[in-house]
Symmetry: C2
Subunit: 117 residues, 2 copies
Amino acid sequence: MGNEVSFAGRHLLLELWEAHGLDQLEVVDQALRDAVEACGATLLTLKLHTFSDTGGISGVAIVAESHISIHTWPEWDYAALDVFLCGNCDPFDAVPVFKKAFRPGQIQMMESKRGVR
Amino acid sequence: MGNEVSFAGRHLLLELWEAHGLDQLEVVDQALRDAVEACGATLLTLKLHTFSDTGGISGVAIVAESHISIHTWPEWDYAALDVFLCGNCDPFDAVPVFKKAFRPGQIQMMESKRGVR
């Protein structure tokens, strides 16, 4: 087929609004771990940071297939998530995990293919 | 002004092609640190992983303003970089750093505003 496209990975940018639990470290930690598992990815490192001024949390799971990250703004009930996975992993498999963990009233998604050749 | 837009951060997706040094840990490490500095961001954690099969490297700098990440595919002379920064930091300030570090023959860029309200 002449219209086949080869790419290195799929990068899903997720915007959660009217979301819950965004200042709860254990919720964010578990959501990242569950997302890694749901996508069939291999966890290498998980790091979390909390911000005392707002209660915001930043977390990144580095996986063998790239990374899954979250940055939360509890003051806006908003979180920005990225699910960037190469190989056969499907980043959309993380969406039900994040819906369950953060119960957002609204979700926006954008997928970007990375390394298109 | 009626057309003002408020957002949480700016996320720059960078694709480097025909790039060099993508399997050199010290080059990737220094590039991430220099990018953090160039953007005026505050480094919280920097983690790097190497992949023995391809020589590829994954690295994430978690900063107080979100994150800067890199995933390299030396076999394609390709690297995927993300510079996601909130506050007054400008992610485009990282571009000259990555150009100098990896001397790519081609660069593709896409900016996404995150948390647009």
